[in-house]
Symmetry: C2
Subunit: 460 residues, 2 copies
């Protein structure tokens, strides 16, 4: 999570580092690494952050101590959460405070949020009172909501100002902050009443009072406790660079910027794919492997229980299988094929729920669509399988039973694959979570039941 206003300025800051920081001559074991930052080896702080993340913790700490506070803060802001926490925990309190003061409040909040409370309080005590209060306020928001990711360094203008007063105000702010593209206009109660771009301001006649420019704006904003994924949907729907965040009285609190939204969309896609198969929703290849074991085991047990149910169905037909072992040969084909059909429907539906606003009517129409796809693909595949089984076994009845079971199970797979995410959603759960496990239970169990059942009835 990085702060846009700082980012806006990144393309020009990169180069400046080498100019401003030549004074630094680290007498220590990270001299080469520190120099590499100032010799222009890295085009961007994100590249420097990558490089630092791969060093030993000793070198990381040493670099943080010897880089300029600004460069250290920029690199730290670009690192993964885990690396941020490791570094701050190992850093001298003075150095940590020096670096945190250089970070934007929302970046600093992200870092402090990961620390244990005691350590966090020590650092907050040492920060300047203003910064500390700002960060304490931000820490109070749930990190999964608009408030938890918002950026508070914005230009706020009172609606009573005239356009020329506004421009003067922005010019003053510009000295120590990057000017953002939008200015947010508030009334006397600090309630958000409008948004103006720099262009609007520069094209106004000087004496125009801002309020007059806003009369017919329809304003889009979110409340601080809005889920961050919904904020991401809205921002991407409206192509905003930043989405204003307000409290329940409509008072402006901050903005969520497009770069945080890009991170949220990345996370959301990972969560869906990982959740679907019962892996940890925030697992990456960097997660310690024992942590992955801990997260995945419960779902593997649930999968185990579920496949025991399917196995029990087979057990009920043990006698039929003993009589006709070929049934055991064909039975996995039914289950596997219906499972794949169902997963196709599942994937389409999970993405639908991830990308678009939830529309109940449209979603259930989509289930119907999947049922049609499942019915037709089932029919075609079954006909071919019928021929195949007949050629292989010379048993017409068996071929017919196999084809019927396959067609029915594929239809069920499509229906189940499309419905499971919707049912989870209606129950207030994550539509992806373990959906693939539930699906397989259904397609396996039903597949075995119908295939072995039909075989027992018609062949044996």
């Amino acid at each position: 999570m990085t702060d846009t206003k700082k980012q806006h300025n990144k393309q020009d800051k990169v180069g400046k580092a080498s100019e401003e920081n030549k004074v630094v001559t680290p007498q220590n074991n990270c001299r080469d690494e520190v120099n590499s930052i100032y010799t222009g080896e890295f085009a961007h702080p994100a590249d420097a952050a990558d490089h630092i993340e791969n060093l030993s913790i000793e070198k990381q700490v040493c670099m943080m101590e010897h880089l300029s506070s600004e460069d250290a803060a920029e690199a730290l802001a670009e690192m993964e959460e885990r690396a941020q926490t490791d570094i701050i925990e190992n850093l001298d309190v003075d150095v940590a405070v020096r670096i945190l003061s250089e970070m934007s409040p929302d970046d600093a909040t992200d870092v402090l949020d990961e620390l244990d409370e005691e350590h966090r309080d020590v650092l907050l005590e040492r920060l300047e009172a203003d910064d500390a209060e700002e960060i304490r306020n931000l820490l109070a928001f749930d990190p999964d909501t608009a408030g938890g990711i918002m950026n508070t360094e914005i230009i706020i203008l009172s609606q009573d100002l005239t356009a020329d007063q506004a421009i003067m105000h922005i010019r003053r702010e510009m000295e120590d902050k990057e000017i953002p593209y939008y200015a947010y206009i508030v009334d006397s109660e600090e309630r958000l009443v409008g948004v103006l771009s720099l262009r609007n301001l520069l094209l106004c006649r000087p004496g125009t009072v801002l309020e007059e420019k806003l009369s017919d704006q329809s304003l889009i904003s979110v409340v601080f406790d809005e889920d961050k994924e919904n904020v991401a949907h809205l921002l991407s729907r409206y192509n905003f660079m930043a989405m204003p965040v307000v409290d329940y009285e409509g008072r402006l609190l901050g903005v969520v910027t497009y770069d945080d939204v890009i991170d949220i969309i990345h996370e959301e896609a990972s969560e869906d794919m990982l959740g679907m198969v019962g892996a940890g929703q925030d697992e990456t290849v960097d997660t310690p492997w024992l942590e992955s074991v801990k997260v995945r085991l419960p779902w593997l047990f649930i999968n185990m229980m579920n496949s025991s149910i399917s196995a029990y169905v087979v057990f009920l037909f043990e006698g039929s299988i003993a009589q006709m072992a070929i049934l055991a040969v064909l039975m996995p084909i039914v289950a596997n094929q219906a499972g794949n059909t169902g997963q196709q429907a599942l994937a389409v539906m999970i993405r639908q729920l991830a990308v678009e606003r939830f529309d109940r009517g449209k979603s259930w129409k989509a289930v119907l669509r999947e049922a049609k796809v499942g019915a037709l693909t089932g029919l075609i595949v079954s006909l071919l399988v019928m021929i195949g089984v007949f050629l292989f076994t010379q048993n017409v009845l068996l071929a017919q039973v196999m084809a019927s079971a396959l067609a029915l199970d594929m239809l069920l797979g499509a229906l189940a694959g499309a419905s499971i995410p919707l049912i989870l959603k209606e129950l207030g759960r994550d539509p992806a979570q373990a959906s693939s496990i539930f699906l397989t239970t259904l397609t396996d169990g039903f597949g075995f039941l119908i295939f072995l059942g039909l075989a027992t009835m018609f062949i044996l």
Copy 2:
């Protein structure tokens, strides 16, 4: 795909519509719909687009005819590709040309790209020569590359200008275009040499020549034929609002903006999830169902062939199953559990490849990590299953065989799940494509082989 520069201005344009367009009084069958746009019912053109998309094609066409060209263009830009094509194909050529002229060149290109060549040429003939040439140039780029998604309405400044000349130039451009946040600086050969923010310009001493401000910038840009997903990775890595696109000589062609990148990231996530199970990578719930059947059938056949291989393994042990039908009961549990283990590894790896730059060393280390997770979860689950099978069958040997087969197959599942995306990637294929199908073939086939093999060797 919508154009940022137009978007920047969106929050203020929305309201203006009702002011400027009260003259429109459609004498026709879409009067209510057109009025709904001008009564402020929709907060944003994206909302209006949504509304229009759900109308009949007759009403859609009628609205496009009766909305102001600007409003029609904005709504059209926000619609899905399919809806855009339907509308333009049904629209009178004059009206279509009027609306297309109001669109930004990159949006107009997206629309025209979907039409058949003949219709496209008719429309291009009728557009103003300048616009038509710009669009023809853009149509020449592969839509999956930086060139195919770039936006060409940017502010370009010569490096010989002084800061005050630059500001005057921007003020002039501002009259009919939105000023973007960045200005791109080129040399006499039109090669990109730097990027300056408005803040940089406004803080310069008036006489400063731009070139001097650029001396130590390290510039990040992409070549026009760079894959659009790589462009998205870079922009999100560096938190840029826009990534400059250049030709092989370094001449500036345009920029890719954050809002297009958000769309690409959404698409990419869908492609991974859909591709993994062999659905169409651009399928949504709006895809005509017969098209879905066509896309999915080939993968279902491949899945069929693959599960026939696993079935053949079972067939080899038909004799063992006839002797001991309980084997058929337990066999699906092995396959299912190993399949789930493998899918967890698969999902982690596909996301890794989607979110980070490819790093061969890191990726193969991740396979090792998954192997450890697979080995330990396999061990734990197997021990429990051993106890369960013993309690259920009172057969110690069978319980041991089952546990061994399960542990081995889960390890294989983890290894295969983690390796398949990497192998596909190394082969130059999409790492997600049908990976789940390949995985299941391995875990099913190997699971049946090892379980039935061990049982035949040690029990029968």
